[in-house]
Subunit: 186 residues, 2 copies
DNA sequence: AGCGACGGAGAACGAGCGTTCTCCCTCGGG
DNA sequence: CCCGAGGGAGAACGCTCGTTCTCCGTCGCT
């Protein structure tokens, strides 16, 4: 393979990592698989990421930025604050229906490595914390009680887990309906 | 170690498997660790379970029976059907607060092996299906609309995931409050 | 052209682990 | 008392995989 800029190699490595780690699980993907899928040599991989754990960390971090960006972009299209809250669940339904959807990457990673990798556990907590903060912002914008944010968060998390296990988009609609009732009840 | 009845050896193996698999994750526990913790020799282990995958399967199956049994026993103590529904979330709070709580064993196992082990994936689907059925029964007993069961299920799942990641019992109370509002709204 | 740094391919190393095998002891039945 | 089945301890085997190393080709610079 020709000479390759470091930044490009890094992106290619992360592209391969995301595809393989998310699709097959982290522990069942070897560094050699990453090399094969990315075209980045092992030597280069270890220059960019001193160990597999850091590659996993970088994969989760980049995915977090993109995931929350896509969600916020979608929700932002709604006019009213309550519509933006419900749009979160509409977006979940779109996400669950995507080809290759296999549940929440962070929940899956936590199940796999949360007990053995502090870096992975920290990434998962950071991602879930940021998502919860985002919901908190939407709830505050709507002038609704703060406790609602935690309830919406639990509904979204439950929907992600259940959609992953059952391979269905239905949990998003169930969660949306529950959210709608909670908006009214609050 | 002295001669040991097969049924006893099986229970000891499952005791060790449950403690280790749940506490440290499945892939990071070796068959040799199971032997060390159970006192059951490798030869015996492989007579009882032809492969590690079957030991994992048996661990999840036995835990499922016990978990649902403990939940039902607790909820049964409540008089009214709606109180029994809310008691589910009270029980979750007790569970989350137990020493060594590390999230939902089935969600964790699914994150670890759902993509690579059909037996594990089937156990997880069976367990989650049974739990959802149980909630459906409680909702029907209370004469409430069937759609409520799915919403309660999502709240419970979200609480389990979040309690596991944040090491807190708070999600159970948040979920209980949301459930209470949904009971009234329906 | 000559040289030195860089990087690719892939072998090599070392550890972990699932599974099987060897050796030996024990114990019950004739 | 003798024999054979069963089982325990743990070595051995084979494979995977994270990480490093070796060898060699290439390319920019003088």
């Amino acid at each position: 393979m020709a000479v390759m800029d470091s930044a490009v190699a890094r992106e290619q490595a992360l592209d391969a990592a995301e595809e393989l780690f998310y699709g097959r699980g982290i522990q069942s993907v070897g560094m050699d698989d990453i090399r094969g899928a990315s075209g980045v040599s092992l030597k280069r991989l270890y220059q960019l990421f001193p160990a597999k754990e850091q590659l996993v960390e970088a994969y989760l971090e980049r995915r977090d930025v993109r995931w929350r960006g896509r969600l916020a972009e979608f929700a932002q299209q709604q006019e009213g604050p309550e519509e933006r809250i419900l749009a979160v669940f509409d977006w979940l339904e779109l996400w669950f229906g995507e080809d290759g959807f296999r549940g929440c990457a962070w929940i899956n990673s936590y199940g796999e490595l949360g007990a053995s990798s502090a870096r992975v556990a920290a990434q998962v907590r950071a991602h879930k914390g940021a998502f919860r903060e985002y919901l908190g912002g939407l709830v505050a914008d709507a002038g609704l009680p703060g406790a609602l944010a935690g309830q919406l968060f639990l509904l979204a998390e439950g929907a992600m887990v259940t959609a992953g296990i059952t391979r269905s988009t239905e949990p998003a609609r169930e969660a949306r309906e529950a959210a709608r009732l909670l908006l009214r009840a609050g």
